[in-house]
Symmetry: C2
Subunit: 340 residues, 2 copies
Amino acid sequence: MQRRPTSFDIAALAGVSQPTVSRALRGSPTVSEATRARVIEAAASLNYTVDKNASNLRRQSSHTLALLFFEDPTPDDSLINPFFLSMLGSITRTCAAHGYDLLTSFQQLSDNWHTDYEDSRKADGIILLGYGDYLEFLPKLEALVRQGTHFVLWGSSRGGQLGPVVGSDNAQGGMDAARHLIACGRRRIAFLGTATLQSPEVLERWRGYAAALAQADLDVDPALRVDAITTEDAGYAAARELIARGQPFDAIFAASDLIAIGALRALAQAGLGVPDDVAVVGFDDLPAASLANPPLTTMAQDPRAAGRALVETLLAGLGGEPAESQVLPVRLVERRSSGR
Amino acid sequence: MQRRPTSFDIAALAGVSQPTVSRALRGSPTVSEATRARVIEAAASLNYTVDKNASNLRRQSSHTLALLFFEDPTPDDSLINPFFLSMLGSITRTCAAHGYDLLTSFQQLSDNWHTDYEDSRKADGIILLGYGDYLEFLPKLEALVRQGTHFVLWGSSRGGQLGPVVGSDNAQGGMDAARHLIACGRRRIAFLGTATLQSPEVLERWRGYAAALAQADLDVDPALRVDAITTEDAGYAAARELIARGQPFDAIFAASDLIAIGALRALAQAGLGVPDDVAVVGFDDLPAASLANPPLTTMAQDPRAAGRALVETLLAGLGGEPAESQVLPVRLVERRSSGR
DNA sequence: CGGGCGCTCGTATACGTATTCAACCGGCGT
DNA sequence: ACGCCGGTTGAATACGTATACGAGCGCCCG
């Protein structure tokens, strides 16, 4: 097994100098087409590829993005939200289309990831994905801004302007979901989710929901609002709590599909029929939503568009353009859980 | 914004030379504890981190692994198999535990990824995940072996010994699944999946299934075997085909949960009750399995153990140890779809 | 006919780190 | 007193590429 070839080997083989090899392969216009062809052929014949580390070192950039998943507070067995995973494909593909590699990592909010990536030149910028506690998250974001690290965050664009944010139109989604339930004839619509600053996205959804109720002259009853993080177990617990409160309700708007699916389980256990006794609407349109029993009506987010928007926003920032946040449309997907 | 600090800056601040900084930070035993402490403090005070590119260049290794997902033949909208995604967490965590970064990428079988990663020193080794056509895959594997590229493959360890393979005990799983159905009193058990060399894993599952039938003195009826790739749509189509054949059957063993879930849809549409008319068992134990209607009995693979085994096998190979394939146990998870 | 210009390419160098080798120092055995 | 040795450190260099700069060349214009 011989040593892997370098640009000097290619240069010798093509009868040119090493810098010419570099120029030819990087597409510099100052090299003649004839020379470029010779170089490319020589490179191909030796299976030469540019050494990424040397190239990165010289160019002072890694042509790599880092994708950081943040886990829910429960550190142990919790799986990452499937919606984020469904973005992975379009994120990797968009990166590849722009000639970037993608580093993937799961992180705890508490670790010091924020200094790790750009500082060590492992990545030129980072994509932050996670439903952690936003208030805990903020100091890290501030640190990123202070350091001048390039990043883009998935979340709510109304959460303050600490750098570019890409997210769904949560307020519109909440409003559409509630309107749909109202149009189905429901009047006592519960909300399951963490509608506080800890989860700006959910808060937006709640605001849209509240606005829709107000427009329909319905009360926003605090007794019909139960806190729940984005897991199935939390949804189950929240629905049980809701039932235990004894307040009448005829619909549930869950801040995420996982919560909704947990709620379906609790409702079934309590002998409440869906959609006859209680209509249910979720948020995300996970693959699991169509499998739920009954199939779950939900506000669909588009993971493909989301992934693309995240990468392109980040790359625009790297290119020096002012960072523009993006809001993506959501779409009601009607299934049986909301009746009709 | 000043230039980011280098090891020379740390050296000056700590009153030592640059090599000493390198030694101190990498934990070399030849540097005195007093000096090391001074260096570490100086580094911390300037927020210094080692430049990964320079370090990699010098050390001729990237301390990075690449994770390559291969898509099913349908290139366009097909999502990646959720089971693979569920390994992602444990893969990234195991990498992190060993001080490795992880590059993630989705690939087409046809691209020339096989020369791209180790050649360009982007990664020291690659993890291959995918249910593509194994026969198409083989030439690439041979190329990897020829180049001496380090890799590990998820799949069937019986598929020939082209490098280390990590996979579940598919034969045992197929046998356990079939035995379970037999124990439930079923006699005409159909098999849905691609039981050919194109999918060695599925082939193993089929062999286990066939062996179990033979042990119970039951026929292995070719009319009860329908081809299906690992998608829900394929499962749906396969079950419809099975029904259309008009052969009686009272159970289905599907080679994956996605197939099983598609089959459930087809059965429901045809008015066949599960588990009363037809018992169904899947394979994988995706999160969706417990949500299916009725909840799906399935052979559970352990994605956490799988991810860990993949990474550790690959790292062992990088460390020069002879590459040992690993077979992981599977476990029957009984739910309602198999009756009982 | 000389000077300038556009096109191509080679020379020299820098990127930041890790390692090889030599140097230094104090102490100890002879 | 001398030399050697273990424990530390510094000087020099190599990793492979990309770019600033200058050199050679043919050409046109004055």
